[in-house]
Symmetry: C2
Subunit: 426 residues, 2 copies
């Protein structure tokens, strides 16, 4: 029955039932965790064969001694893989160490203090600059802005990607808006994929927003499909080039959720002009990335086709977990006025929107019943969801049974919070 059709007595009966279930969960002393988007042990084991591949292969066929210093851009076959993943020629890719988060941080740091195209273009010189943050979104993107003192303006992410009418109007009105964070495929946490139209318009946003503006294109889940016939994301750089905006696109990706989360390789792709400026910055802090790990990866993965084959094995492990999340949400909450949720075809998250004002309480209740959830608000800049509605569910790390159990607890918590809110408002 729809929540709003229930009368007082029905609500009270329902609350009693839900509380009793809740207490049973509490009594069983669960210790479950749906917080972070980490791969599971089973997934990580898929790449264990990588260890040892480097033996006798530490000197590259091109003569480079991979054991020694140097090679700021990374090894060529890794650049090629990065290019294939990001839709760029290898020359427009630099390969970094195991975390694309570091590349994003350093790029923004560079843009802020040193300037994307030299000192005159430093954002810091323009006073209080701003960034567009799509919500719900990825907390670590927001934290980078916070660290640098960049003001965040949040804009709701739609099913097709960001609302370009709204965004174009914003950047036109305010030249201090210097960028936008995007996770274009299987967006964190909604799982949305930006439509062709959206990608095309984002690619040309620089024409409206100015030469100093950067679309931060974090393609973290570009190959993280769950379906047999996965959707394709438009190649943003092709569209940017066509509109003369190639300098406004900065792309990143990594193998963190392909091979090892704690020991993969990462990619940053951008126009040669952007990379030339960024390379200068990197040269101050490092004498090149870990080329041995890059080589080890390439011996293991070979190329994009190899990556796709590996991702199918990941999908086999992840598919059932996402399915049980969807099934339990549907069975428990569908058509009851108890929020809505995304049904992603890939990526690492499910986004759940509770009735406004209940997210914090749901997270609290779940914690009480032994299920750790990402704090409500985490998917918003400054950790503040004005509606107190969004909760990010991360079903990848726990084993299937734990996901299943945790989601049963979660669904009960949602119902309980919704019924209690209704009772309070009565």
């Amino acid at each position: 029955m729809q929540l709003e059709q229930m009368n007082l007595e029905q609500l009270q009966t329902e609350e009693k039932k839900l509380l009793s279930t809740h207490q049973q969960f509490q009594a069983s002393a669960l210790k479950l965790d749906l917080t972070r988007g980490k791969p599971s042990a089973e997934q990580l084991t898929l790449s264990e064969g990588m260890e040892g591949l480097l033996a006798g292969k530490m000197i590259h066929e091109d003569g480079t001694d991979l054991r020694n210093y140097g090679g700021a851009d990374g090894i060529k076959e890794a650049r090629q893989l990065g290019g294939d993943m990001l839709g760029l020629p290898a020359e427009e890719v630099m390969v970094g160490d195991h975390t694309s988060l570091t590349l994003m941080y350093l790029y923004l740091l560079h843009a802020f203090y040193h300037g994307v195209q030299g000192p005159d273009t430093a954002w810091a010189k323009e006073g209080q600059v701003k960034f567009i943050c799509l919500v719900p979104g990825y907390d670590r993107h927001f934290t980078i802005c916070e660290e640098l003192g960049i003001e965040m303006i949040h804009v709701r992410l739609l099913e097709e990607g960001p609302d370009l009418d709204q965004i174009e109007a914003l950047v036109q009105e305010d030249p201090k808006i210097k960028g936008i964070w995007c996770v274009p495929k299987y967006s964190n946490p909604t799982g949305h994929i930006y439509s062709s139209e959206t990608v095309k318009r984002l690619a040309g946003l620089g024409r409206v927003a100015g030469t100093n503006f950067r679309v931060m294109w974090d393609n973290a889940y570009g190959v993280h499909d769950l379906d047999e016939n996965p959707p394709e994301l438009e190649k943003i750089m092709d569209h940017a080039r066509a509109q003369g905006c190639e300098d406004s696109i900065i792309q990143v990706a990594s193998t963190s959720k392909i091979t090892f989360a704690g020991g993969g390789i990462s990619f940053i792709g951008a126009s040669s002009s952007n990379l030339n400026h960024f390379r200068k910055r990197l040269s101050v802090m490092t004498i090149g990335p870990n080329k041995l790990n890059q080589r080890r990866h390439m011996l293991f993965l070979q190329n994009l086709e190899g990556v796709k084959q590996l991702m199918k094995k990941h999908a086999k492990i992840l598919g059932p977990k996402f399915k049980t999340v969807e099934k339990l949400l549907q069975e428990g909450l569908q058509g009851r006025g108890m929020g809505c949720w995304s049904t992603p075809r890939g990526g690492y998250f499910v986004s759940y929107d509770a009735p406004p004002g209940t997210a914090t309480e749901i997270v609290r209740l779940a914690g009480e019943a032994g299920v750790k959830l990402t704090p409500a608000g985490a998917t918003f800049p400054y950790r503040k969801d004005p509606e107190d509605a969004n909760i990010r569910l991360a079903p990848t790390f726990p084993v299937f049974e734990e996901v299943d159990q945790a989601m049963k607890v979660f669904v009960n918590c949602v119902k309980l919070a919704c019924v209690q809110q209704r009772l309070q408002n009565n």
Copy 2:
């Protein structure tokens, strides 16, 4: 014969002879390189056995899945090794990826913009801050200061380490001096080792220079001995603690010149209070270091004793190269008024001081004869040696025969430049 005792005719005869030798070198189309402090292929091969050790050992005995995200401080046995190398308890060490240069850069960045002990202590808030740079010194330290706009004051490095009378006077006079770069053992490029007295006084410098001051203690060559009975460096933190100055010491080291220059692990050691602040910064840009590479290293190196054993093998390879440098300099230049040089007992460099005004010309001549040298001035802030005297020689990377050949060319270039300068001044 001493240069200054030669008459015009003798100088002209000598010039002719030297020029003829120089032209012979030119004709033999050499391609030799004494520029950067890189380990040689032979040295790097010593650590090839590391590859493969991780197989089946990617989950730590303490339960940590090393393949996954997390563990900002690094794995415990690597922290222990870093502590043993730096003279600190493991808890005061964080283990990073393959470059301590990155840790130094990030630490200074943190100190400059965010503050060593929180926002109120940010150097950037104090206007034009300064750093003491010992000369000759390490160019990459200077570049970090330049990048951040920190003004560099150079102070001559003495045999026993920095002149503390001079330095204490400087920091007492100018509270905007916020730190000093030190390579305390086998200093780059002189090979000097700071005396006990110097280390003790540096350890207490914070009492004079204020709580915001940092001694950047880059112990890059702490175990890089050439002698059988190597000299010991005082543990600076013990002395700092005794003087209540533990917060003013920041230490780094790495295995870049122990295992793989392009794929080692690095350490930063500091008081818990300093690390707590720095950790916050790192948490914005990374979800932890590459723990797999740390583990691989520890399986290979085991502990400090293992490191020392490995370093003996390095010394066997490097010893003859340093000896030939010393021998050729002595035979060719000793007692002739043609400069002086260091005879290091470890490290990666030999520092040569030419008669003032000839370094640039010597480097030019050597280049002409096929021997690449680090540009004159590189060992000084802003790449400007006011005396145009210092040249850094790096004999580690080329094979023995190349070092030998390159030094013969070098000695001839020195003589030629000296004789020609003398002729011009006549």
